[in-house]
Symmetry: C2
Subunit: 226 residues, 2 copies
Amino acid sequence: MQKTLCQSCILQSDAAIKLIKNQLNELTDHCSRVEFKPGEIIFKENAISTNVVYIQRGLVKIHTDNFSKDRILRLTKAPSYLCLPGVLGDSINRFSATTIEPTLACFIDIHVFKKFILENGDFAYQIILALSQNEIKSFQVSLNLAQKQANGRVADALLYFAREIYNSQAFMLPFSRQELGDWMGISRESVSRILGEFHSAHIIYQNGKEITILNEELLEQISQKG
Amino acid sequence: MQKTLCQSCILQSDAAIKLIKNQLNELTDHCSRVEFKPGEIIFKENAISTNVVYIQRGLVKIHTDNFSKDRILRLTKAPSYLCLPGVLGDSINRFSATTIEPTLACFIDIHVFKKFILENGDFAYQIILALSQNEIKSFQVSLNLAQKQANGRVADALLYFAREIYNSQAFMLPFSRQELGDWMGISRESVSRILGEFHSAHIIYQNGKEITILNEELLEQISQKG
DNA sequence: CGATATTTGTGATATGTATCACATAGCCAC
DNA sequence: GTGGCTATGTGATACATATCACAAATATCG
């Protein structure tokens, strides 16, 4: 961990830009930065936490193994704030956060964070906007889970990586088949089979974790139809 | 619609209590109250809206028929704010809201609402808390959809009504079998069958929409095991 | 009140996906 | 390299649930 000047570090964040200068100095005094390698745990569910985590750079999965099985609830790409729900409510993390790619995270004291919300309406408004976006995405996720079949969900996942995360038709899947299944709520065998079918049908090219989307339009159709 | 003194009307809300007096007067000038019967539409998805809706009394379902099939995303019991996500983002409703029970709703101009957030940190903080709670609930919902089987989901739904909505083991189901299925992502026939099984096993008593939970512990187990 | 529409229950069948079993491939440690 | 570990692919089977078809019950409305 190292102390950092938050003026320079955090300015990518819509919310942080709204902090005025002496608030940023205060942030500097109560913020520590940590670099994570892929697969490292940022925080664990059921642990007590008094920090909000700001993801400055990287990719993180929010997950839980409440029911003995790991379930991936969401991926979060920088820049974003984690841990708001648990920490603001009762300071117990309701889920775990684990890095998928190299990630730079800032730990911000919850009291400082709360103070900013109370004192700085612009900052609060940005946070509210971000939470509202999350809510819409959550609705989308639960629609997908409730009414799409397995191939639609896999199509969804591939499009998500291509569009939201890597901005490219070709990418290295950061997940094992098992993890993909944990995310979309299907078994690892089904994931294998479906990726195999997509490959045979020339919708994608796959070679291990290497994926290229060959027919985005068709993949989109599969995603839509479920 | 009728103008109302918001001091008296809205004080049940944690968030509104934080509004100071002259803000409440401003709210009174930009707030209209509407009484809804069960089954009436408060707002429709894809419609443009410039209001935040505060549910003062009643029960509302948030739903969408994006994919030709109606899907119920969430129930919301008063007091609560609706419509934040869509309105704050781009002013288009991302979903519909329809009343399930007699409901009293206040329509608040979005600009006034935003002004309150910017000017009143306490108010903003309450909104952030509420949104955070929503997020945790959304995670719970997507866990349920992803890994529970139909009987676990139905058990869940019954426990939800008994505990969260009616605070009683006996209640009138405000949904048809079809709607229950739309909510939990299963077919109406399966809902019928499962309720029938629960009835035969003396876990519940059912007579049409009249439901009594006879063995809450067992129902809880079914919900847990999925 | 009767006629019609809607909701509900239930059996038979089809279908999708989990599960199991096992083979293969890739990877790391020694 | 060899041995053990994990990840992956693939077939056979089991199982849960959707779908279809129809009957019965209930609500709605003129």
